[in-house]
Symmetry: C2
Amino acid sequence: MDTTIKQSLKEIVGAENFTDSLIDLIAYSKDASEHRHRPDAAVWPVNTGQVSAIMKLASREKLPIVPRGAGTSLAGLAVPEQGGIILDLGRMDKIIDINIEDRLAVVQPGVVYADLDRALSPHGFFFPPDPASGSVCTLGGNVATNAGGIKGAKYGTTKDYVLALEVVLPDGRILHTGSKCMKSVSGYDLTRLFVGSEGTLGVVTEITFKINPKPPLVSTSMANFETLEDAGRAVSEIMYSGIIPSALEVIDQQTLIAINQNTDLNLPEVEALLVAETDGYTREETEFQMAKIVSIFKKNNATTTRQADSKEEAEALWTARKSAYGVLARINNNLIVEDLAVPMSKVPDMLRAISELSKKHNLRIPTVGHAGDGNLHPVICFDGTNADEVKRVEEASAELFEKVIELGGTLTGEHGIGLAKVPFMGLEHDEISMDIMRSIKRLFDPNNILNPRKMGLEE
Amino acid sequence: MDTTIKQSLKEIVGAENFTDSLIDLIAYSKDASEHRHRPDAAVWPVNTGQVSAIMKLASREKLPIVPRGAGTSLAGLAVPEQGGIILDLGRMDKIIDINIEDRLAVVQPGVVYADLDRALSPHGFFFPPDPASGSVCTLGGNVATNAGGIKGAKYGTTKDYVLALEVVLPDGRILHTGSKCMKSVSGYDLTRLFVGSEGTLGVVTEITFKINPKPPLVSTSMANFETLEDAGRAVSEIMYSGIIPSALEVIDQQTLIAINQNTDLNLPEVEALLVAETDGYTREETEFQMAKIVSIFKKNNATTTRQADSKEEAEALWTARKSAYGVLARINNNLIVEDLAVPMSKVPDMLRAISELSKKHNLRIPTVGHAGDGNLHPVICFDGTNADEVKRVEEASAELFEKVIELGGTLTGEHGIGLAKVPFMGLEHDEISMDIMRSIKRLFDPNNILNPRKMGLEE
């Protein structure tokens, strides 16, 4: 990168908010995925005006700009595949307003999810979509990926809570979308176009979220199933029983084995373990719903069911689910946390297919997921220095997503397309759909400077 | 309109699905708003292929196409301001699939809201956004306007339930958006771009909705307030008390007077009456929430509160709210049912401003609304043959929307921009926002054939 460009960047953000040191650029060459590419420089803008000035410079000089939050993407969204400038929004981290009366939180994009949650908690409110990376991920990234989490079936995902955005467009103009009112149908829904657009259309510099009062009580239970089919039937029956659990998580046998080998949790190594949670304002309400769930568990041959009698016991039940990633990350050289969704009734078929792919390609693919909305995370474990294994991973991934589409599923429930799913976009979207998406990209970003190569939008 | 074009239309849909008879065209010159303009012809396509053929013809011949459902728009969305062809989707009225297991309903656009509700009811499920016109309006129209209803504060609006769409584009291509999975972040959210786009970007020919289990129990109560301010404070306190009522409706004094003069309901003619509903799976849950609401009513000087002890009594409480439109329509020559939303804390200010405008312009403007999400409907009553009164209506409307924007509100919470709000678009949206919306319109509809003149998108 030209030194005059670096000089211009320093003038915009100040020398203290610019870096091109090798150590920083190496750190910025990755996110939580397996993708790697080094940027030429990184900046930490501290206000919208600076972001606008950077975008004008990048447009003029045709420089790739990759917006970045905490870099927790599992799909390569934050990796600068074409080099260029990392726009780290981590120093725009102010909670601008919490307005309980109007049910709003206004934040800058660099605010960490957990910090907003902590700020809302004393008011009895919460921001429901809680990704697994909630303790570190930033809300700008949540908006860019339309992040989900374990409460999706009952509370939806990030898109259901974004009311208004301030967005800097690639040409530097500052766009305001949406309304701070609970309801607005004034003009096209530009807000939703930016939510989940993976930083390819504009840079979000301010977000207004709708927030929810948090039901104070929960009930939690866990059940073991000898077969995936029994667990799958239980999930289906719960979802059409008339209630919506606030969480309904599935853990498969390979994950249970890995957890047992690396913890003292001593879980039964059955084909599937389900963890369910219900919430409400009264104990009767959470228990009424949980009684329904437990009876469905039993009807579908759950070998054991345990219901938590205390907050501590509930935490213990969740430990199994929550320990999965940590255990898998610790015992494997490399892992790809996959993300897919299928119609809920297809969850057992999908789990069975994953298990078969695992055998066929001689790979460990433990799987956890949000069964209540059909969103599964097969975790492909491998050794990146073993060329043969890497090849098998690629083959298994391709077959995995063919199966997902065959079952009426989608390539990604909550992680996004990024770089990881680019090869598969054509499986899910036909040429007309791809053409419209590409037209929208060109409309907003005619020079293709914003997060280029992501989402499979290049022709 | 050229007879060869009429002949081509007849060949596409069949003579039985075409009309240019004067009586039909007069009927199609209006919707539920005060706007009028006669089309040149109307067609009732019966499948997507026919819609595609009509769009190709219209694109070639540069003919305006106005998609229409039940014509219940209160903002002129279905009025063919530029003449052309009415595309009545009322004969595409099949419920294609109800899949409780996967939480889906797939419908054609001409299905009436209440018919879907009736089909879901035996399964214990419902489609929450229930517009006041639910017994007649069609779901294609609900999608086109992003329709709301009284359950918005708790259950959101139509956009929160649309998972996937089949859309015929102006050039005749058939686009499939979204996914039938509960969660998907695969590509741009094209679905949401069409929801609320008022038939200006494409013609929706199939809709996949997410559906919800219906909590079986409700509690209902009503309270009278001598002042708007007391009622407003009660609304605010309820909304930050930690619960979300399934409905929280407000009726103002002018509406109460009109209802009393025309029914035997004998309501107290206070400044504001509130009706609240809570729902849940257990009686404890609905009552717990309602007890909170009633105590907030009392704390804020409610002169009387009544809680329904039976389903019949609950119905009686709702009668007051539900009778408002019928009464107002019966006793006035003309009325404009306005639609606006403000942040919830601004509801009393807005009601006070409406009351002052009413006095200033010597007009009756009774107001009802969904207080729980700040969405108000001032009903401007007038005599359309009285030129002076019509002028005062126009002045009052302009001042009304200036006030709405001053309070941080939005031009429309659930009726849309249509023709009615075109003059006010610039109040809410700056030039950058308008420019982006116009670019999107041009991208999808370069010949401006789809519902032209709506939404203020013409330069």
